[in-house]
């Protein structure tokens, strides 16, 4: 099966115009000894066969809709996605367009990104948003780049809370390995009460950025206002990694004084899709716009006096600034930014609050139910829709027992925090019914009797 619309007769006419005898003759610049390798690939399929083949592969998975009851979050969450989103994403005008470099014929993409930027600033309480990064982790790493550039490399330390998502911290370490940046704090011990101490004392005159998460990786909600004041007092910027659903009800990082607010956009109408693609949102304050990486859409007028939108401040970006650019980023997550914009539009103020409240209520019901179980203990700190559950045995064993009963129990914190090997991170969303939560409690009670 190919998608080539040229007949043999047309091909011959075209070859004649080009002045060569055969298709193979077009490749004489390629070293002869390496030309036309025989590729060992399976024979081509027809569309019908491919549809069946892919269906069979997909059937080898157990999904969180139908096969398994899921309490797994840890950075990606099982939310309901309204039908309208995919109907709009399937418009070829959106998904088969390129980056809107020609604004006269790309106003659909441009206005949609402008609206996405507007919606994200409304949600985070910040002043501006870019057109998105790859995911929450890389958006966080780009915040490090922003701060590094803001201080022109003179402040070489980044302080990262150990309660930031472990994979995000790993990505920060990867990104900064050639920059001469010291990453401090992420190896601070997590106390047995999951307390983080000593973060503030690490912030000094050499610190460019402090990174905290909200709610943190353990699901807890802290007001970072004082920490941000301390950091600002020492001249450092603060980046808050936020869960966008939580922002529907909780005080915004913007109100707390954050300089950069980033996060994973998947909860805003994007599928789990085994972890991607999703989007990383990136919002900041106006004074940092020139140090921010990524595309940016601005309002303007066209030569007919119509309101219109263009990619703006493009001279910051790699295709013009080359090795002097803050980042090498070229793409944004265009189609997924559109999906999130539609999600926020169609849920609107009331819908998003309702989702956040449902998550909060159900998670608190679950926490109450599990805390009553013999041998289990839920962290007593304020949380949103995810909480830690101390188990009577290693979390990996508890999870294995739950899986036998068709339940994805939660994230095993011992994988990243050796002191927490008996702790599960349990996520509850609007998708979890009371029955499912009760079943989780019953099954956990059983696990303790095994």
């Amino acid at each position: 099966m190919t998608y080539i619309p040229i007949s043999p007769k047309e091909r011959d006419t075209m070859l004649k115009t080009v002045g060569v005898k055969s298709l193979d003759d077009l490749f004489e610049a390629v070293p002869a000894r390496h030309r036309f390798p025989a590729l060992d690939l399976p024979p081509a399929l027809t569309e019908m066969e491919a549809a069946q083949y892919l269906g069979e592969i997909a059937d080898h998975n157990e999904t969180v809709r139908g096969d398994l009851i899921s309490f797994l979050g840890a950075g990606m969450y099982n939310h309901y996605i309204p039908s309208v989103i995919d109907h709009m994403l399937r418009r070829g005008e959106f998904y088969t367009a390129y980056t809107p470099y020609q604004p006269e014929i790309s106003q659909g993409t441009l206005q949609a990104i402008f609206e996405y930027q507007s919606l994200m600033t409304a949600l985070t309480g910040m002043e501006l948003s870019n057109a998105s990064h790859y995911d929450g982790a890389t958006a966080t790493a780009e915040a490090v780049n922003l701060a590094f550039a803001q201080f022109r490399g003179k402040r070489a330390k980044v302080v990262v809370s150990p309660a930031v998502h472990p994979q995000y911290r790993a990505v920060i370490r990867t990104y900064t390995q050639g920059m001469g940046v010291e990453v401090a704090g992420d190896d601070l011990a997590i106390g047995d009460q999951l307390s983080v101490s000593g973060l503030e004392t690490l912030i000094d005159e050499n610190t460019s950025l402090v990174i905290v998460q909200y709610p943190d990786f353990f699901g807890r909600v802290h007001d970072y206002t004082n920490l941000i004041e301390t950091a600002h007092g020492r001249g450092a910027l603060v980046c808050v990694v936020a869960n966008p659903t939580a922002l529907a009800i909780f005080k915004t990082p913007g109100e707390m004084g954050a300089d950069v607010v980033v996060g994973e956009g998947q909860p805003l109408g994007l599928p789990l899709w085994f972890g991607g693609p999703s989007l990383g949102f990136f919002t900041t304050r106006k004074q940092y716009v020139h140090k921010m990486a990524g595309r940016l859409v601005g309002e303007t007028v066209d030569n007919k006096g119509q309101r219109a939108y263009v990619l703006t401040l493009t001279a910051r970006e790699q295709h013009i600034k080359r090795e002097r650019a803050t980042s090498n980023i070229c793409t944004n997550q265009g189609l997924l930014a559109l999906a999130s914009a539609i999600y926020l539009s169609v849920l609107g103020k009331n819908g998003l609050k309702q989702v956040a409240n449902l998550c909060y209520q159900k998670a608190h019901y679950a926490a109450g139910a599990l805390n009553k179980l013999k041998g289990y203990k839920v962290s007593s700190e304020l949380f949103f829709h995810e909480f830690t559950l101390e188990c009577p045995q290693p979390a990996s064993e508890v999870n294995a027992h739950l899986l036998e009963h068709g339940i994805l129990g939660g994230y095993d914190l011992g994988q990243d925090y050796p002191a927490l090997k008996n702790h599960l991170l349990v996520a509850v969303t609007e998708m979890n019914s009371k029955e499912e939560i009760d079943l989780l409690a019953e099954t956990l009670a059983e696990a303790n009797h095994d």
């Binding site: 022109r152 020139h290 401040l313 493009t314 001279a315 910051r316 013009i320 600034k321 002097r324």
Partner: protein
């Protein structure tokens, strides 16, 4: 292209006024860059600068450029007003658009106005 005779010029299109120690970009440079939307001066008063090293970064609607020091010396002043009004570099590159002031230094290998005008002319094609 305008090129005042009291100034000296670098091949990278900066000007230097020996009398005052002021530094900026030339009319030719601002014209090539077109509409300038961002200026960041990378040095502060008191910093030592070396001829040929970057002192500022400029971005226009379509291009970006590093501005190099045309002379070696110590920075005595920077034009703080440029950050808010980068378009001054387009409207008055030799006057209000000065970028930094240097003292006690030696000019690099610079051209006079006539040589610089000829140099600009030679690049016009």
């Amino acid at each position: 292209m305008n090129a005042p005779s009291n100034l000296k010029y670098a091949t990278s299109d900066e000007w230097f006024e020996p009398a005052s120690g002021k530094v900026g970009i030339t009319d030719y440079a601002q014209n090539q860059l077109s509409d300038i939307v961002f200026v960041e001066i990378l040095v502060e008063a008191g910093d030592a600068v070396e001829a040929g090293k970057a002192i500022a970064s400029v971005e226009s609607v379509k291009a970006s450029a590093e501005i190099l020091a045309p002379a070696t010396g110590t920075v005595t002043a920077i034009n703080k007003g440029l950050a808010d009004k980068p378009e001054t570099l387009n409207s008055d590159p030799f006057g209000e658009g000065w970028m930094i002031q240097i003292e006690g230094g030696a000019a690099g290998d610079l051209m006079d106005a006539a040589a610089y005008s000829a140099y600009c002319e030679s690049r016009a094609h």
